[in-house]
Symmetry: C2
Subunit: 110 residues, 2 copies
């Protein structure tokens, strides 16, 4: 029986694909509810070179499904959805306050 627990070290760096199998990016970081310990968002890194100009996309954890055949996460997002999705650069990380989180959740229909 496979373990149903995974290390944050292993999640970070894991590739993210769309349902067609195209690579969208990789997971850079996890945003965790301090009190409950619930992972709220996986922050996907997308584009950029040597960390410059990289956009970060917070994706609600529930939207990520692990696919063993691709050894990565699959998210049901198409190109248009990603183009309009909430994102930020490393130089302008948002506060992740209630207002920001609501706007992310709302974008993804949660």
């Amino acid at each position: 029986m496979a373990s149903d627990v995974i290390s944050s070290d292993r999640v970070e760096g894991t590739n993210v694909y769309n349902v067609s199998g195209d690579k969208l990016g990789s997971i850079d970081d996890l945003m965790i509810d301090k009190l409950s310990g619930q992972v709220r968002y996986a922050v996907m890194e997308f584009g950029g070179f040597l960390g410059m100009g990289t956009d970060r996309y917070p994706i609600p954890w529930n939207m990520l499904k692990y696919d063993t055949s691709q050894d990565g996460y699959v998210v049901p997002l198409d190109k248009a959805q990603l183009e309009g999705a909430p994102r930020y650069t490393n130089e302008a990380v948002p506060d992740y306050d209630e207002t920001y989180r609501s706007s992310v959740d709302k974008y993804y229909g949660l």
Copy 2:
């Protein structure tokens, strides 16, 4: 109002203290329930030098309280409790299967 979400990047490396304010170690990694995204354990690193001989202690997330004055987590564990606590080395990471998790939870009375 402070943000109630924290980045895994920031949790990793944070110091852990006992209630007397003695430093016990620091958080190295988080073990996350794959399905629910719930952080089950913070893995505390304790002792060792340059990563050699370091013991790792899985601590149930609920036991860690963040203390802003120490800029670290506080756990209600004394020396004797830590001496008997479940631990492993980097060379022998357990499977974190149901049996292992139950033994950790049981040790901490959960």
